[in-house]
Amino acid sequence: MARLRTRKHKVVLNRSVGGDIGINVLLILLGAFMFLPMLYVIMQSLKPLDELWMFPPRFYVMSPTLKNFTDLFKLMSTSWVPFSRYIFNTVFISVAGTAGNLLFSSLAAYALAKIKFPGRRWIFEVIVLSLMFNSTVTSIANYLTMSTLHWVDTYLALIVPAWCTSLGLYLMKQFMESSVSDAVLESARLDGASEFYTFLKIAMPMVKPAWLTLIIYSFQGLWNSGNSIYIYSEQLKTFNYAINQIVAGGIARAGAAAASQVIMMAVPIAVFVISQSNIIETMGSSGMKD
């Protein structure tokens, strides 16, 4: 109820009709710029081959067909490593990498944002600075590390480095700082709660939007990871790599290529949609307190 009142209150006091119209027009224009190419991707995947190479090209599909998708699946079944293996690899790497990233980044971010220990400032500075160093040149040193650890050509080489992304920590730390109140933590500590308890039961629920963002970021990065310098065995290669091999077959596979783009983008978007519905839930229940 309180929420409804504030909204009405705000509209009366701080909002002009002209501003509302201007903002909505701008949103619709930007939205069209963002959405139309995505729509075109989907349209392309539903076009039969003769429509893909039609002149003049049309935006909308005239006789939609799923043939591109069935073609793609047929091509998949001809690979000499069973295609399910590529899918398993990608799902396994994405899930294991994301889980570790979430756990380690959040733990460290909580300590850096909410516990005043010596050294926390420069540790944080170094982590932020590291975001700005190019990863192409560091891959040589990383290759040395991987081979010293005997991790070359194993899942570990792909999963473990994903556990400590500077970006994930930075994101979590900024939210812990702005959204977790020190007063609540302090009273929990006075009640004898351990730091691990306050982290898990108090801080983490308060920054749910942040770690849902981290999950999306981490998952889509790993999901879209293609060929890696650490992996030689065909059995350990990813879905993205395999699908690119298939669609690299020239013009005859243009249909399958269009379908593969839709499949590759569908999964991160699905993960995002699921997490968004979660955000709405949280917002719904936390709306009570104001």
Partner: protein
């Protein structure tokens, strides 16, 4: 007895005044053991997979190293060669600066404004709009659709459309024309730029305490722009800082999309960025020392612009 004597000899310091800085630090470290346990897993991996490689690269930037022979120290020679002898690098710096100074601020402002606009929508509508804006950046290589839209033959959607309406008589080779390459790549970069920082802005806006707005209205905030400047932005400063760093790393580190759309090297080096230069030497010519030098220079540029932005952001809400 002896215990007592020891206690008398070195009275345990109790307040900070009685301790040297070192003693106090040690005590604080002991008191906050848990914090060190909490950052340990991240920090160990961070040292192995980030700090060590970065330090090694900085050292290598002063050497000549081709991956086969042991690196030899040549001190500043790489840096001298880079700035005095490498014309393509100067082109790359110029392109990168043009590119970064357009896409960085533009993507930052679009992310922030769109996040702010949609914040007042109802949750269901907001989720749909968020998806529309965010989808291009998580959809992997889907930006390749721009290559289809702007394909150089008459099957390309844009060419066919322009020809049908009589604007042009022959198809334009969009991605092979030095005049069009850069603007097009900027458009595609903006299309994919509403990413993690956009989401963090949305999440940041949602966690703002609503009572602040009521207090602001009482204090004389009259319109939505004042509300944004005096209440919303100062409250979400941590997210603003995060978004700025993201904008810097994305706009200075841009290159992969150009290669995918225009090939490498781009026509007349018209869209050749520092990233391309670095990949060229590091990934193809195996001049690891030289490419490390490029990475260090790029790093310094990013850190510099980060400092400037930090200064600018400290003025928010004033």
């Amino acid at each position: 007895m002896s215990q007592n004597a020891a206690a008398v000899k070195t009275p345990k310091p109790t307040s900070r005044k009685d301790m040297t800085k070192f003693q106090w630090t040690l005590k604080e470290i002991a008191r906050n053991k848990t914090a060190y346990f909490m950052i340990a897993p991240f920090m160990i991996l961070f040292l192995i997979f980030t700090v060590f490689p970065v330090v090694l690269s900085i050292v290598l930037s002063f050497t000549e190293f081709n991956l086969l022979e042991f690196p030899t120290f040549i001190f500043m020679d790489n840096y001298i060669r880079l700035f005095l002898d490498d014309d393509i690098f100067l082109t790359a710096v110029q392109n990168t600066l043009v590119f970064a100074s357009i896409t960085g601020p533009a993507s930052y402002l679009i992310s922030l404004l769109v996040a702010w606009f949609i914040n007042e929508l109802t949750p269901k509508v907001r989720a749909v709009v968020t998806l529309i804006f965010y989808a291009p950046s998580i959809a992997g290589s889907v930006y390749l659709i721009w290559a289809t839209l702007f394909s150089g033959d008459s099957y390309g959607y844009v060419n066919a459309w322009l020809m049908e309406f009589g604007f042009i008589t022959e198809p334009i080779l969009w991605f092979n024309d030095a005049d069009y390459v850069m603007p097009l790549c900027i458009v595609v970069a903006l299309w994919t730029s509403l990413g993690t920082s956009f989401l963090s802005f949305i999440a940041g806006l949602q966690t703002i305490d609503k009572s602040l707005y009521e207090a602001g209205a009482v204090d004389g905030v009259r319109n939505r722009w004042q509300e944004l400047w005096y209440i919303t932005l100062p409250t979400m400063k941590p997210q603003l800082m995060f978004g700025a760093v993201m904008a810097i790393t994305n706009s200075f580190g841009f290159g992969g999309v150009v290669t995918a759309l225009c090939g490498f090297p781009s026509v007349d080096y018209a869209a050749h960025t520092i990233m391309h230069h670095l990949d060229d030497y590091g990934g193809q010519r195996f001049e690891v020392g030289y490419s490390s030098t490029i990475a260090v220079v790029l790093f310094v540029m990013m850190v510099g612009s980060n400092l400037v932005i930090k200064k600018l952001l400290s003025k928010v809400g004033q």
